[in-house]
Symmetry: C2
Subunit: 260 residues, 2 copies
């Protein structure tokens, strides 16, 4: 494929359905979190989906293989929104994925309160003031809550959803209590939770959580997702998630499998 890539950019193979994505070490590369969220999200076959904090658009691209719904990808960073838009175009998905550049807190009402069937979000994991703030502004915004707190993000997920609509989020387990508190505050009832453990005997380092707008309480705790079976060899389930569809030659995902 020949496309206009900027000097720092590369074209990575998403290893499924011949999808490709523009990435750049200068700004952001997707990690396993996004791939697992895209697989975890029980998106409807049709309807309207929003992906918030969309980054370079990896989640909408992966979801497009499993749904005919239209997907609005909201990203605040112009550089990332531009990469996402070009990736959508080079995959010929303009009719199904729209990239919306801007602040979720301003765009949500315009996108439409109560209009969405499903929302996905892979938000920054760290509070604004916490350690290891990255000097690179792009990485900092992807990792820290500089453009909206966790509670604000959950609030907007909820506002976008119709009654019975669902939101799926990936986050750090350490924030679980906050996530659940915010979700219940904004009428999102957690219904499915799955923890991701690097090894069978290690603490979880990711949590996948799906909540339903205005639902009754009762949550399922899914089987643990174990990343490595021994040493550094991927578990069968991770192999299936990454390579299950088709076997690619390049290795966009695997390079980032270790997480960000």
């Amino acid at each position: 494929m020949e496309h206009d890539l900027l000097p720092s950019e590369r074209l990575d193979d998403l290893l499924t359905h011949h999808l490709h994505i523009i990435q750049s070490r200068e700004v952001f590369s997707f990690s396993m979190d996004a791939v697992l969220l895209a697989r975890f999200a029980a998106v409807p076959k049709r309807g309207k989906i929003a992906d918030l904090c969309s980054g370079n658009g990896v989640i909408p691209l992966l979801l497009s293989t499993r749904t005919q719904a239209t997907i609005d990808a909201v990203e605040i960073q112009p550089r990332l929104a531009d990469m996402a838009r070009r990736s959508v175009e080079l995959n010929g998905l303009q009719s199904r994925i729209s990239v919306v550049e801007g602040d979720l807190r301003e765009k949500a009402k315009q996108l439409g309160y109560g209009k969405y069937d499903y929302v996905t979000v892979n938000p920054p994991y760290l509070p604004p003031a916490s350690g290891d703030r990255n000097d690179n502004a792009h990485y900092a915004a992807a990792r820290h809550e500089l453009n909206g707190t966790l509670d604000e993000i959950v609030q907007h997920c909820s506002r976008l959803l119709r009654t019975g609509g669902k939101a799926a989020m990936v986050h750090r387990p350490g924030r679980l209590v906050e996530i659940i508190s915010s979700m219940t505050r904004w009428k999102l009832e957690p219904k499915r939770i799955r923890f991701v453990h690097p090894h069978a005997g290690s603490e979880a380092n990711m949590v996948l959580i799906e909540a339903t707008r205005d639902a009754r309480p009762s949550v399922k705790l899914l089987p643990p997702l174990i990343v490595y079976k021994d040493g550094q060899q991927y578990s069968d389930e991770i192999m299936q998630i990454y390579y299950g569809g088709e076997r690619g030659d390049t290795n966009a995902g695997a390079e980032e499998l270790r997480g960000s």
Copy 2:
């Protein structure tokens, strides 16, 4: 051992430290939940512990092998409190375990607000109105919230604890959101959570959760505890928990391993 057992009662071996416990099919037998909670609870070596909804006292008996703290076991059903008291006596633990018969909601203040270092609780799992209410009043009270809601129980755990004191609970994962909401409402911050899965590939059917009074938010998700390794064979960890200390001839625990 020769003791005065009632006609329906039997003396079971707790398989550790030569402990025995009086059980009866007519009223209640402990299950795996209690054993896992007793192992999960990071009780202090000394100080004051309360065990709420104590049933026939299995948790205080098991905890007595790991701590020199005094343990107050609160049980509302006279028949169970009596069995617990006799079990304490036949193990010679009267100086360390006191059985308090009565309603937690009335006894808590008398036991002492803010006086405890650790509280354990294996509460009834089902709301008062939910299905499969057992005709046997003893089983019904052990399974349904007839004598206090989940929120009331969490409230009293919190009231008993000093600042920095901890509470450990075992419950059904389906109630996780309620548990976390109640805990945060009553200033108990969840700090350690462990899910128990019958098999590596199945949903969790128990959750173990430890919370600290007046602590800062941040929770650890421990490795999943898998009960069976294949088919009906116990995993190494379950074997270690049940038979790790000493090998007993009778089989009090294993008989109940399938849960209630």
